[in-house]
Amino acid sequence: MPLLVPQLPKGPHYGILAEFGTPTDLYHACERVRDAGFTRWDAHSPFPVHGLERAMGIRRSPLPWIVLIAGLTGAAFGFGLQWLVHASAQPLVISGKPYFSWPAFIPITFELGVLFAAFGAVLGMLALNRLPMHYHPLFRSKVFERVTDDAFFISIESWDPRFDSAATRKLLESLGARSVELLES
């Protein structure tokens, strides 16, 4: 079940967690961590901070493509189902209309397209985010409980090639971190 359990780095430590006071501090710290060349790291905030994904150098989410494929599948399924019923499996003359009276099939085609696309969006988002994942080493940290309230964090994982528990801690402290914590794996 790779989706539901975190991938953990080998070794005793998961990584380093640093708390920052404001969205602005977090934003500038992220720019510096990005420029320092780290790859296995993340920032955490109680709300989406505007532009932070660019400050971290994250690419755009591929989710719209998943949604497009799911939506087209749903629409094709809806249209195909109606064709199957009215033109193939059970051809009946209703109100003198032709069997394949496709304009009357559009509303349900649309609705099923939206239905599948919405499930694609939600399930796709969860899969890309590797959720649900009810356990994670970050949850061991006491201060991390405030990530959903008013605290801002950067976490750098220990399997990042540039990770060095002393030097990385120093870097984060120099960026204005309020507290820095080494997390067990």
Binding site: D42, V49, K97, T148, D150
Partner: protein, 485 residues
């Protein structure tokens, strides 16, 4: 009201409008919203919940008797084969539409004021759709074969008729309900995580923790999350317009004078948004007072909602006039008779209740004093919903009760079971809403925090909305490239 006129006015020189008053910090927002769920159940809550639960019980009795005895317990007769059942259905679907308008359409239009009310408006949508789905479900008479509405392979090798608007309706409303639940749940995930992280009891920790799916507020997660939210908003927008259009086609596709008009889809959508906003106002007035959220759900929000009610109410009034014009211009005697009969016939009382509630009364919202007066807003929100219920009653019953031949004319009078089903559906709605405000955060805190000035990482600059104007004016700060988007 601790709000001054100056706070209500947008000041284009000083920057963006103040959406949240008393400039709280992030923690204060979490505290006020989460505390409402965590504290001991206030006595006042039981005063709403128990009557609602009693009405829900009444609904249970009414529906059980209906299943036992059949739809003959309602006041239906031969020309009037649809009456309060479908009136209630259209009424409740319409209520739901304001929630989706607030959560999806206003999101796409970057209307940041929606953040204070979108969570509870979406909850309202879901509960309204539950009430709506009840009525077509129970009005079929033989409920044990209601599954015939769905394209399920069966031993009779029977399929539903996909060319019928009634079947489009089954799909439209059930897809609408499903997508609304998905949208609402996605919006809830970060706030459920807040409830998890604040939980003092292990019960809360497990339940909220399970539902929060292990959300860590990571920017890589927010990146996909915000895309998903945007995509869902973009999907819900055409969906909500399609739903009430399809509902209107239940009528418009028939050949009955009074129903057979092309104006129905936009007219129904406008009416749906109108009544839905009225219901949002009713609920928000109660919630902001009961849970002391006056600084989050401010008079500015009510001012905006009143403007939307004024616009949609006037659109509905325009549609009433257009129907009369069309029937006169058609030269069709049946069309002309139906509309004259609506305004002057045996149901004239219902027609004029509808006109006075829906067209005349909202005109008071031309005045700012009315738009920012809580008693006026509350009273009018109820008046409007009475009017919108009557609109559906007028459309359905007055078009049916005088058939083409005078020998098949009739008059519909509700029985006590019609009344029980209607007020019972309010019991279902308010029971669900009471449970919602008791157990889930009723304001989307992670969204409200983003509209606070200190949430903007580009320090010293005004929020994004204003930066473009500012860029052209030296001395007011230079926006970063990120801020200009």
């Amino acid at each position: 009201m601790a709000q001054t006129e100056a706070e209500l006015l947008d000041n284009p020189v000083e920057g963006s409008p103040t959406l949240i008053l008393r400039s709280p910090d992030f923690h204060a927002i979490t505290e006020v919203v989460a505390e409402a769920v965590e504290r001991r159940t206030p006595t006042g809550w039981w005063f709403f919940f128990l009557p609602a639960l009693a009405l829900l019980g009444l609904l249970g009795v009414a529906v059980s008797w209906l299943f036992w005895e059949g739809i003959g317990i309602w006041g239906l007769n031969v020309p009037v084969g649809w009456a309060w059942d479908i009136t209630n259905f259209v009424f409740w679907v319409g209520i739901g539409h304001a929630g989706t308008l607030i959560s999806a359409i206003l999101f796409l239009f970057r209307q940041k004021w929606r953040t204070s009310i979108n969570r509870s408006a979406e909850a309202m949508t879901i509960f309204a759709v539950m009430c709506a789905l009840l009525f077509p479900g129970i009005h079929v008479g033989r409920v044990w074969v209601a599954y015939w509405m769905f394209p399920l392979p069966n031993q009779m090798s029977l399929w539903p008729n996909f060319r019928s608007p009634l079947l489009w309706d089954v799909f439209a409303v059930s897809v609408y309900g499903t997508v609304s639940v998905l949208f609402w749940y996605v919006g809830l995930i970060p706030d459920l995580a807040t409830m998890r992280d604040r939980a003092k009891t292990s019960m809360r920790k497990y339940v909220y923790g399970f539902l929060a799916l292990g959300w860590r507020g990571s920017v890589r997660q927010w990146n996909h999350y915000e895309t998903a939210y945007l995509v869902l908003a973009a999907l819900a927008t055409p969906l909500v317009l399609s739903v009430h259009s399809v509902v209107s086609m239940d009528f418009a596709v028939s050949v009955l004078p009074g129903w057979h008009t092309t104006i129905f889809p936009p007219y129904f959508v406008a009416g749906a948004i109108f009544s839905g906003f009225a219901m949002v106002v009713t609920l928000m007035v109660i919630c902001r007072t009961a849970f002391r959220l006056e600084h989050i759900i401010t008079l500015r929000h009510f001012d905006y909602m009143a403007k939307i009610m004024l616009v949609t109410g006037s659109m509905v009034g325009y549609a009433y006039a257009t129907e009369f014009f069309t029937s006169w211009y058609s030269g069709n005697p049946y069309e002309m008779f139906t509309f004259m009969n609506r305004a002057l016939g045996p149901y004239a009382w219902a027609y004029w209740i509808m006109v006075s509630c829906n067209v005349i009364s909202p005109q008071i919202f031309w005045f700012k004093k009315a738009r920012t007066s809580i008693p006026i807003l509350f009273a009018l929100s109820i008046v409007i919903n009475i009017g919108m219920w009557f609109e559906r009653f007028v459309i359905i019953v007055t078009s049916l009760h005088r058939d083409f031949l005078p020998s098949s004319w009739g008059y519909f009078t509700p029985t006590m079971w019609d009344v029980a089903c209607l007020i019972g559906s309010f019991g279902l709605f308010f029971t669900m809403f009471c449970l919602f405000v008791r157990f889930l955060p009723m304001v989307a805190t992670s969204e409200v925090k983003t509209v606070l000035p200190q949430a903007n990482p580009h320090d010293g600059h005004a929020p994004q909305r204003e930066t473009k104007n500012r860029a052209a004016r030296p001395g007011l700060g230079t926006p970063t490239p990120e801020g200009a988007s």
